[in-house]
Symmetry: C2
Subunit: 319 residues, 2 copies
């Protein structure tokens, strides 16, 4: 561990999957300032997908980031760099300004292992526009080995700066992470690696520590863990526990005190039994998320039966 | 990992530190039946300390276990064995029946490293009465090495069955646990080892997995994590994740559904910022617990300042 490690806070981006990006401007500004003062290196301020491609009927500033709007929100860039995530097929490359005209420093591309070729086309484009780039390979826990090896072959020759291991289902444990990181390091010796975890089994922080010990340098996290379903590794744990001279816990504590308790009252994420179950079963949390919105939300045995019975609605393709 | 691993559920004992053992008889009976059906090997049904020695003015059946009462509560012993915890100086050896007259199978002795000699005297006595015994060395994260080595010398020659590593402050991470387990194994090759974790930094489950991988066979946990302050490793995570043919998750899920959501509404434990801070600082949670009972309970920055300032009330002796 040491000075080369970097935290990327994705509270707005992944947390937006919890509350449909219902964040006030004050919330986002306070978060930016807190992360700055805490020495967090990157803040992912949302998605830069295309409202047209997603047939969006309503504005959603943190889902469809706009450079002019962002410059109003963050009139003065400080220590913390800004990133945005894009999805394959949902981003319009024409929406992306050259980096010198944008407030964004980094564009991250999320993709499944089977579509890495498409992900790398976007990476190439954003790289040529001057951005730092990452490729976030989702749902790693259910990628067949041969597909991953094919993906590595393509990634090796791309200009991507960081390749992320993404435990989308929160189903990996620290030994699994160590194993994956070693494989990634061996196959991609010229790339930096990143880790993005979910907390279904309360292993998000431990998995991040395991990744770090095995050579990952980029750690995703969110404040108070706010992220889809079980949420992510907690930013406050990283800034208080990881040894790096510029990390300070107090600004993040102040932000939690001011904003996150209320947010957690209003919206649900974290260690919740159906999410734990989907983690253990290595399933996408979408079935559990729908269940939590039903009247049966607290019928855990019933949920377990429904997702493990042979007639389960959880089709193999959702894995 | 394998068939020799054992889970010891301490919901009643450690959870009693949260709610002053305000558990209904139905709760305890339902828990016993659920643990049985889930294949959990041991249930710690309370403390067997002396009401006289603790100057107790009120009855407290799970804090001051009584064999006659227990036999009424659990008229039929099943698969799950029963254990009780005692503290040095708080247990009256005259209260302990010979094992064949008791419903208890195991007596565990909690002690600090500096008083291992006294702990082992009790172990010897309970061993001679026929019980399985454990010695639980508390606050391991702040024991000086020389004191631990002295303790090991005494433990080696005792009849104790299991020696527990207890992360009382929830301040250890999986690497620390691996290091400690290796040391214990090296110094105590003829003893089984146990692990008792706290969840201040959301590492209780990960630390338990780390202990298991390094050779520990007894794992403490509590249902829904109910235990002092940040609570313990969750029983439902162990029975769903640990590979052992007899573990079943559904009975524990049913118990959570029936009892634990309501319990958690009424009483507080788990990942809560002041407990996270005391874990990071390797402090006893008592200051944080008092703070959570004050009007300032959610003023996290203020709490952090108060426990880290040079004039802090947290005296070194509390470490």
């Amino acid at each position: 561990m040491g000075q080369k490690n970097k935290i990327l806070d994705c509270t707005i981006r992944d947390g937006g999957l919890v509350n449909n990006w219902d964040f006030s401007i004050e919330f986002v500004q306070d978060l930016y300032n807190s992360l700055n003062e805490s020495g967090v290196e990157y803040m992912e301020i949302g998605y830069k997908n295309s409202p047209k491609l997603l047939n969006a009927s309503e504005p959603n500033p943190w889902r469809f980031l706009d450079d002019n709007f962002l410059k109003e929100i963050i009139p003065e860039k400080k220590f913390t760099k800004l990133s945005a995530l894009v999805d394959i097929g949902r981003v319009d490359p024409n929406d992306i300004l050259p980096r010198e005209e944008s407030i964004l420093d980094m564009i991250r591309v999320a993709c499944y292992a089977r579509e890495v070729d498409k992900g790398l086309e976007l990476v190439q484009m954003f790289h040529e526009l001057g951005y730092e780039t990452t490729l976030n390979i989702m749902a790693l826990s259910s990628v067949p080995e041969h597909q991953l090896i094919k993906a590595f072959e393509m990634v090796k020759d791309s200009p991507v700066d960081v390749v992320y291991i993404v435990d989308s289902f929160g189903s990996l444990d620290p030994s699994d992470i160590a194993h994956q990181v070693k494989k990634f390091k061996e196959m991609l010796p010229n790339k930096q690696l990143g880790i993005h975890t979910h907390n279904n089994m309360q292993l998000a922080f431990a998995n991040t520590l395991s990744a770090l010990q095995n050579g990952v340098t980029f750690m995703d996290s969110s404040v108070y863990g706010m992220g889809r379903a079980a949420g992510n590794c907690h930013t406050e744990l990283l800034v208080s526990y990881i040894q790096k001279s510029n990390y300070e816990i107090k600004p993040v504590l102040g932000f939690i005190e001011k904003h996150m308790l209320e947010m957690r009252q209003k919206w649900e994420w974290g260690y919740i039994i159906p999410y734990m179950i989907s983690g253990v079963l290595n399933e996408h949390p979408r079935v559990a998320m729908a269940y939590r919105k039903s009247d049966d939300r607290d019928k855990f045995v019933n949920f377990y039966d429904s997702v493990t019975s042979p007639e389960s609605n959880v089709s193999p393709s959702s894995k």
